[in-house]
């Protein structure tokens, strides 16, 4: 199966600060790829390049190519790239003045969906998919911010799923959550990978091990090692990777 995303010689900077050096990586389809590494290694920047969000930061630049299904992201409109590559952030980001329903429907409305039935279907479907439906089915008109942290995060996942992206990027989606909420999101990720390509940045090594099929280890802006998760954790090819995954630094 061809890779969903091909990253070729990616370099990224914030102004004068060089944060990613010559990263090349093939992200496989219908699988979970985890990005691990110590703080400041460029893993979030890497993720933000994949839906061209990086370029929205003032002063941010990048070179190199990223292919989605073989097509260069840069040759396409940024808005339509982001519609195919969804993203979930570290902290839940519900739109505070919108209801749960409208939060999830936001992306559909952007796409011009107007018919009530179509919206209803999309919202219900996305909430079911995100495993949130049963908890909110009676509260759809409550503000999106009235949910607990874990529920808000799943609401944001539902919002991203509602437009049916092909790739889902997750930037430390559980770092602000308690263990039970984390567990729910992890099992959701395992379920999602049957239909989506998931890329997850995480600080939590155990989490990377539990949810991912492939793992990339970044250090100081460089890709050190990339391979099947089991191999990275059990038989790392590099000394640096071994030191990191066994907890000697990081």
């Amino acid at each position: 199966m061809p890779p969903k995303l091909q990253v070729i010689e990616l370099d990224a900077r914030y102004g004068d600060r060089h944060v990613l050096y010559d990263v090349s990586l093939d992200i496989p389809d219908a699988a979970v790829t985890a990005i691990i590494g110590p703080s400041g290694c460029g893993k979030s920047t890497f993720l933000r390049c994949l839906n061209r969000l990086h370029e929205e930061t003032p002063g941010a630049t990048s070179t190199g190519r990223i292919l989605l299904d073989g097509e260069d992201l840069r040759s396409k409109d940024a808005v339509s790239v982001r519609f195919r590559v969804g993203m979930v952030f570290q902290k839940p980001t519900p739109f505070p003045n919108l209801s749960i329903y409208e939060n999830v429907a936001a992306g559909l409305r952007l796409l011009g969906v107007r018919r009530r039935e179509e919206l209803d279907d999309g919202v219900v479907d996305a909430l079911l998919h995100a495993g949130l439906w049963e908890e909110v089915e009676n509260d759809l008109d409550a503000p999106g911010t009235s949910l607990s942290g874990g529920q808000q995060q799943r609401q944001c996942i539902a919002r991203a799923l509602a437009v049916r992206p092909e790739v889902l990027l997750m930037d430390e989606p559980c770092s602000a959550l308690d263990p039970i909420a984390t567990h729910k999101i992890e099992s959701l990720i395992l379920k999602l990978k049957r239909e989506y390509t998931v890329v997850i940045v995480t600080h939590n090594l155990a989490q990377a091990r539990r949810v991912s099929d492939h793992t990339a280890f970044f250090y100081l802006g460089k890709l050190v090692e990339f391979g099947p998760t089991l191999k990275i954790f059990e038989q790392p090819g590099e000394k640096l990777t071994e030191n990191y995954v066994t907890g000697r630094f990081g």
Binding site: F89, Q90, G122, D125, D141, A160
Partner: protein, 651 residues
């Protein structure tokens, strides 16, 4: 060590007393105005607000025309100002290239520093003729000259006054809206963008909603300013005491009524009626400001879980629609058993993807339309400042380059004719008077304001003291009280204490002090609050006593902010006309004693702006330019102080 404790307590007491003076100022204002208004209140009762005459011969007074004029002019001003201010705020916070944002915002803020007498002067010479010759006839012919557009356009009317008010409140509304927009975290915008929103859609979806409360508060504060604005309105509204019947009617507002009549009346029923008008104005502006501050205060409160009633019904209605023929009906009952089975991958992808290019072009176009509109709003907002500056340089530049202008007395009014040239004279006494009044005001306001600010920040932290929070709130409200009322207040107090010096340099100085105190107190408080708790605790841990910690460590590291606040207060006081006009008296002589009337720049402009003598008009423009240059200097100076963060603990 006991004496150190005592010193701490003394310091607490002194700063607390300074903070209490803010409360006393508001309370005193209320009492003095009420006291002055009592004869009129007894005589006219509640009918005062419906009475429509201002008849000195028969001693009949009613405020209805002024109330109507105030509501109409400020309402109309809001109508003009809100779209422009929102456009400015959106452009500056969301759209402008990052390196342009600060300088542009600075220019917009600068237009808030132009004294209202200068705006009025400019409007009288530039705006009024334009409105009279072009705008109003155009409107009249478009509408057939009926209803609100009836009557003959004179340019000196409700319509022009509303435009001037709008120009003056746009910076206020824009500043508060911009703050509210900027307070929305970046992650909100990014969340919207990663859903595939264009940048305008991200603003609409993720930024405008959360910022709504702050924007509304800014609009209400703008309304408060419009209601209380005195001098600029008095210069262009026509000042005829009739209930307006059209936009082109000359009118009066509550504030312009006071400033136009207060100087000329002796003790008696008319003065009392003016006090009652003042009481009305105070009630309205305080009410509006309290509302706005309450709204602003709430933004910081976290929103707790909320369960609105009625959602259950609607949600079940949503599920009850299962009989609708959907492409792939989702049955939640069965789906919840196995969510993934109900969701066929890519089921919608195809037809959604088809949609993208179709509506994308329209959405991109919409984005650029909105950006252009907002950029246009910014240009519109900057235009008045540019015009004010060029007009002032054009008409006053000749005067200010002559050294004698700064040291000579006012000339006799004269028009140059054949074989006759006029002496330009100068504004020496006015400059002397203004400096003196500012000095007097600062002498009162700086210690009081800074001490009060220390109390509000150091003893009111973390909601420890309800009194401190209340005083801080009152200081905010006081900055929204029209300065004409502060002038009337000081005048009335002096009248009671020492009849002869009610209009004097001393009285004027106190009036400017009253204008400055709340500004300085709040600026100091804000500045001190930026000093981190860590620094304070470190100082206390080193064995500093509380007052030494406040004075040396905290004040030391927040010195720049305090200086900026003091400059802001000075600049506001230097540009004030209304409070001086009723307290400093009228004089065109050099200093004659603290208990004598004194000359000053702003009243000089206000009394001579329409002078039929060419040399006096030139002098007034020269004075306006001097004021503008002073404002620019103070503003640039304050910015420089903020920039040069030489935060040292060498105090």
């Amino acid at each position: 060590m006991r004496w150190l404790k005592a010193l701490d307590r003394t310091f607490h007491g002194i700063t607390g007393a300074a903070a209490a003076s803010l409360l006393l100022l508001l309370l005193g204002l209320l009492i003095v105005l009420y006291d002055g208004a009592r004869p009129a209140l007894l005589r006219f009762g509640p009918g005062f607000v419906l009475g429509s005459s201002w008849d000195g011969a028969h001693d009949l007074y009613g405020a209805y025309p002024a109330i109507a004029g105030t509501l109409l002019s400020s309402g109309l001003a809001l109508l003009f100002a809100i779209p422009v201010a929102l456009g400015v705020a959106l452009f500056l916070s969301e759209m402008a290239p990052p390196w342009l944002r600060e300088p542009l915002a600075y220019v917009v803020d600068l237009s808030a520093a132009v004294p209202s007498v200068v705006y009025g002067f400019w409007a009288f010479y530039v705006l009024v003729p334009f409105v009279r010759s072009t705008v109003e006839p155009g409107l009249a012919s478009l509408t057939g000259g009926t209803g609100p557009f009836s009557g003959s356009p004179t340019g000196l009317d409700l319509f022009t006054a509303s435009i001037v008010l709008a120009i003056m409140i746009v910076p206020t509304i824009a500043a508060f809206s911009r703050e509210a927009l900027r307070a929305v975290p970046r992650s909100q915008r990014e969340a919207a963008m990663s859903l595939g929103a264009t940048s305008w859609e991200a603003s609409r979806l993720a930024v405008l909603g959360p910022a709504r409360r702050g924007i509304v508060a800014g609009v209400i504060l703008g309304l408060g300013r419009a209601i209380g604005e005195t001098i600029a309105v008095a210069m262009v509204i026509g000042n005829i005491y009739l209930t307006p019947t059209s936009l082109f009617s000359p009118a009066q507002t509550l504030a312009s009524l006071i400033v136009n009549n207060f100087g000329g009346v002796g003790p008696g029923l008319e003065r009392s009626a003016l006090f009652e008008v003042g009481l009305l104005l105070l009630a309205v502006t305080v009410g509006v400001n309290v509302l706005a501050r309450l709204l602003l205060g709430q933004t910081s409160e976290p929103r707790g879980p909320r369960r609105p009633a009625g959602f259950r019904l609607r949600a079940s209605a949503l599920l009850g629609r299962q009989h609708h023929p959907l492409p792939h009906p989702v049955s939640p009952a069965s789906a919840s058993a196995g969510a993934d089975s109900a969701v066929a991958a890519g089921r919608w992808s195809s037809h959604l993807v088809d949609r993208v290019p179709k509506n994308l072009r329209r959405r991109r176009a919409l984005h650029w339309v909105v950006v252009s509109i907002c950029a246009g709003a910014l240009l519109l907002a900057i235009l008045p400042l540019a015009s004010v500056l060029t007009t002032a340089f054009d008409r006053g530049g000749g005067a200010v380059i002559q050294p004698s202008f700064y040291v000579s007395e006012n000339p006799l009014g004269c028009n140059p004719g054949p074989g006759r040239s006029c002496s330009l004279g100068g504004i020496g006494p006015e400059i002397q008077g203004t400096l003196l009044l500012l000095g007097l005001g600062a002498l009162v306001a700086m210690p009081l304001g800074i001490l009060a600010g220390i109390y509000l920040s150091e003893y009111g932290r973390r909601g420890r003291s309800r009194f401190a929070r209340g005083a801080s709130f009152v200081a905010d409200v006081l900055t929204g009280v029209p300065t004409i009322l502060l002038g009337v207040f000081v005048f009335a107090v002096f009248l009671r204490l020492d009849h002869d010096s009610a209009t004097s340099a001393l009285s004027g100085g106190f009036a400017l002090g009253a204008v400055m105190v709340p500004l300085v107190a709040r600026a100091t408080e804000e500045g001190l609050r930026t000093v981190s708790t860590g620094v304070r605790e470190a100082a206390l841990a080193l064995g500093f006593t509380r007052h030494r910690m406040s004075l040396r460590v905290v004040l030391g590291s927040a010195r720049n902010a305090v200086v900026t606040g003091a400059l802001l207060g000075l600049s506001r006081a230097a540009g004030d006309t209304a409070a001086l006009f009723v307290t400093a008296g009228s004089s065109s002589f050099w200093f004659q004693g603290f208990n004598q009337p004194t000359a000053a720049l702003t009243p000089f402009i206000f009394t001579n702006f329409g002078s039929e003598y060419a040399n006096l008009a030139s002098d007034a423009w020269g004075a306006a330019l001097v004021l503008l240059l002073m404002m620019l200097l103070i503003s640039v100076g304050a910015r420089w102080v903020v920039r040069s963060r030489s935060v040292g603990a060498e105090l």
